[in-house]
Amino acid sequence: MINNAQGDLRLAVVEGSPFTQLPQDLYIPPDALEVILDAFEGPLDLLLYLIRRQNLDIIRIDVAEITRQYMGYIALLEAMRFDLAAEYLVMAAMLAEIKSRALLPRSLGAEDDEAEDPRAELIRRLLEYEKVKISAEALDDMPRVDRDFQIATAEKPDSDQRTAPPQVDLSELVLAFSELLARARLSSAHQIEWEALSTRQRMSQVLMKLKEQAELTLSELFSVEEGRAGVVVSFLAILELVREGLCVLVQAAPGSQIYIRPVSQDV
């Protein structure tokens, strides 16, 4: 068990080894920053991490030290031009305020102002957030349907034939898709150009054939009856499959038969 004096920052024990000099520990390899920012669920989470890392008790945090470290992260993140959520900056301002208050002489008749003590408020928020964080972990550890257990069912007896499956009208499907597109367009991040449906359909067909045969000659995928347009569609589909890394084309020697295969075959 750790036995350091509470609040003695220079004697924190991290993963079993004593730390006497915390500041160096703040260094983070630049490429890890993005990972770190992703890893935190917000300023409270970051603060909690800084506190925990030193095995400190939340209610005894040394605001000056934590502020220094927090500012260190923020400065690094800003230097790396990460888009910091405003919440991180609000927290920085709050910490700075607490720190400056702490520097003021103790009394000055401010004792009646207990409720407004920003340090107490910060500690309350940290404790509350930690509770949520731990509850979330506990929730995720609980056995969950489909992940940790399955529902046991048996087929209903024949004649009863399960209430007919839902019927879907073609227009419902189109409407669902157009609404989806409209929504995706709002979050314009997904402006992907897609090939014509005929090509995508052909891609599916090629993959389906490859599932049965594992290898096809190119000529097997073209059919004369489809005419020129059909050949073009097949050709585009094959190119797209190769481009998306779903298939490879193999030719033993120039001028010989060209084969198409799925990228890897589970034998």
Partner: protein, 186 residues
């Protein structure tokens, strides 16, 4: 046919947990068994399956048969579909709703210290785990969110009280936090 057999067949035919009410409904116009009789038959049925790979369990929505957790590694070999994993943000939002319900999005944001993405709420609603139970009578009338019976069913719970107690997880910060950290130590 005896009561136990009827219940057994009906439970296996149903995908959703069956409540006592639904079990009574099985008998239509005939005289339905009493709740006591049903529970007795269920207990006996549960015994029958003691040594098998499936078990009768009770969750919020009623009773259902469940395949043992020990089968999961085998079943995982059958399918490509990996069960959805949820991000920390989603889990924390769900935890807030489960433990503090009914709660508004603003209240969740206040505790987590960050904005709650609309998509998280949508994911949880779509999963059927949360629902809007009303609106708070403050400016903007924000929706009050709560967990559903389906949430309890999917987590194998009979009621919210069975959720691990958040208070127990951190008893007293001053003393136990250090212990906690040792346990969860990264």
């Amino acid at each position: 046919m005896d009561l136990k057999r009827i219940l057994e067949g009906a439970l296996f035919a149903s995908r959703e947990p069956m409540s006592i009410y639904q079990m009574k409904k099985l008998f239509g116009n005939q005289k339905a068994p009493t709740e006591g009789m049903l529970r007795e038959a269920l207990a006996s049925l549960s015994d029958d399956y003691q040594a098998r790979a499936i078990h009768l369990v009770e969750v919020a929505g009623g009773f259902r048969f469940q395949v043992s957790e020990s089968l999961i590694p085998y079943l995982a070999n059958l399918t490509d579909d990996k069960p959805s994993k949820y991000s920390r943000a989603t889990l924390e939002t769900l935890a807030m709703i489960a433990y503090r319900q009914p709660v508004t999005r603003g209240e969740i944001e206040a505790v987590r210290g960050v904005a709650v993405n609309t998509q998280i709420i949508r994911t949880l609603k779509e999963r059927g785990w949360i629902t809007v139970v009303g609106h708070k009578e403050v400016a903007g009338r924000p929706a009050l969110l709560a967990t559903t019976t389906e949430f309890l069913n999917d987590f194998g719970l009979k009621s919210l009280e069975e959720l691990p107690s958040a208070e127990d997880l951190i008893v007293s910060p001053t003393e136990d936090l250090l212990d906690q950290m040792d346990i969860h130590g990264e």
